[in-house]
């Protein structure tokens, strides 16, 4: 037992190191008092100060937040409905339809959405097209989480509610929704984190107008990796991490509630 644990740790440490050292480097250098990401000179908050005075970057952040919030709300409503439908109707084609966007290469999704917006909808690319695109690929994630939650539950609970006098709507509001709420919230947070840092699909569907955060960062890097990029990356990482921890806790709590 002890020996196994040791082997496990020996295998796990390099993996975690591989995953997290680059992130730590970014965070550390965002506080480095030097233009170069080469050696540690001294501590500074200058890069954060610069960042918060960069109008273009702030606009990009605002746009990205608007997109992420709207898309995750839409995806949560639609994804929850999809998850419920997949669970209830057990048609083989439903899960395929809902989950395919998750497995599809992003570049393919980006190209096809671009063509769809331009040639079918005749839509001017911008915030609206990005929101629709993000909603599309987030629905599947919400549906998967909601369905997983429903699969762990006793279906007779919902029948019991109807049996004891609740209409289908009352059953949803008083029984189903409270019971799947942790999964719905986890799905919403997941959608938010997926949306806020999405690059490929955003790139294809953004058009020329509004600056969007991940693309803005990419544009800055094209010139040189400045500590300002490190600073914005650190902030983005912090936000994502917080949301993932929150989502995780919600889902774990959901399992305990059973």
């Amino acid at each position: 037992m002890k020996r196994n644990n040791l082997t496990l740790w020996l295998a796990a440490i390099p993996v975690y190191a591989f995953l997290y050292i680059p992130l730590i480097v970014v965070v550390v250098y965002s506080f480095n008092d030097s233009r170069l990401n080469a050696e540690w000179v001294g501590f500074t908050l200058d890069w954060y100060y610069k960042l918060f005075n960069n109008g273009e970057m702030l606009l990009a952040a605002r746009n990205s937040l608007i997109i992420a919030i709207t898309a995750s709300l839409l995806a949560t409503v639609l994804g929850t409905m999809a998850g419920l439908a997949i669970h209830r109707y057990r048609l083989k084609v439903l899960p395929i339809l809902a989950f395919t966007p998750i497995a599809m290469p992003e570049i393919l999704l980006g190209v096809s959405l671009l063509l769809f917006f331009l040639q079918v909808l005749n839509l001017t690319l911008g915030m609206v097209s990005i929101i629709i695109a993000h909603t599309t690929f987030c629905i599947g994630f919400v549906a998967i989480i909601v369905r997983a939650r429903l699969q762990g539950m006793d279906d007779s609970i919902f029948e019991a509610a109807r049996d004891l006098g609740a209409t289908p709507w009352q059953t949803f509001r008083l029984i189903t929704l409270p019971l799947i709420m942790p999964a719905v919230a986890a799905g919403a947070l997941m959608s938010f984190t997926l949306s806020i840092d999405d690059f490929v699909i955003t790139f294809f569907t953004k058009g020329v107008g509004e600056p969007i955060l991940p693309i803005q960062i990419y544009t800055m890097i094209k010139i040189s990796v400045t500590p300002e990029v490190n600073a914005i990356s650190t902030l983005l990482m912090l936000l994502t991490l917080a949301l993932i921890i929150l989502a995780n806790r919600l889902d774990a709590g959901a399992l305990r509630g059973e």
Partner: protein
Amino acid sequence: MALLELRDVTRRFGDFTAVDCVNLSIEAGELFTLLGPSGCGKTTLLRMIAGFDVPDSGQILLDGQDIANTPPEKRPIHTVFQSYALFPHMTVADNVAFPLKMSGKTPAEIKKRVEKALEEVQLSRFTHRFPHELSGGQKQRVAFARGLINRPRLLLMDEPLGALDAKLREDMQRELISLQKEVGITFVFVTHSQDEALALSQRIAVMNQGQVEQIGEPSVIYSHPANRFIADFIGKINLMAARVTQVSDNDMTLEIDQLGTTTLPLKQGIKTGDQGVMAIRPEQVSVHALARHAELPHAHTGKVLDFLYVGDVTTYIVELDCGIRVEALLANSSPGRARFFEVGDPVIVSWTREAAQFLMN
């Protein structure tokens, strides 16, 4: 008029007929059981009575009104599910209050009735607990209280005691029966457990392959099963392949493979040439030491092959000289004496003329 009447109720799933033209009527105040092996259609029937499923044809009449297409929330019929189906995010009190809330009762009345209901099932101390903090028996009682609180015309119970351990089950059986007497609500049980059916019901409908095979009081079903399936399904029974060779005014003669011929009182509708089985309950078979041979009717010699001692009774398996094996159940009624015979003992097995019956295949 019967409280609930099923007329030619049929339900098919693809090629499979789950419920095949069932006719039943249940009187108000009755304890009625649908009994059958798994897959016999009893659960489908229960689901149609509750409103979770709709028959393909036939009528479900409650007080003479066809409710086959009424949604479950509009039926004055409540169900206690096998898994209890308590709402996990609600306290015991909120679970029990749910049907009252749905029917729009005032908060004051709800509070009063919930308190009373929980008192009746001895759960007053658990009002604010959540279902996952309760034991199986307590969950069961919450499910009862919840099913009964809005005074349905009919309470359906799916394998009501299936999830409880044996000791608790007996207590709950008694509780259930006395509870039913108190509230006067008609109970319909659905179970595959013959013990439960015999102990709980005033009448039993035995189902097999989507059809009702016999309806009657527990003692009638046990002692006069309508056919071989029912005899075999309810309780233990010795079955010997038999053929009717002769029928007279009062008697019929059976030819039993290996055992020879025997005469039994004539049963209605039996004619010469009918194939079936001769059936005898193990507790009606007596086993004697070899010496008493002469006086016994329907006596056959054999030797003890095996026995199973379970405390109150011992089951002996006796192989007759002709090769047929017979089970006999003897009560261990004399103190200090655990068994009468040993493996290999030569014995005489006998039964009375009335104990044996002929059943069609």
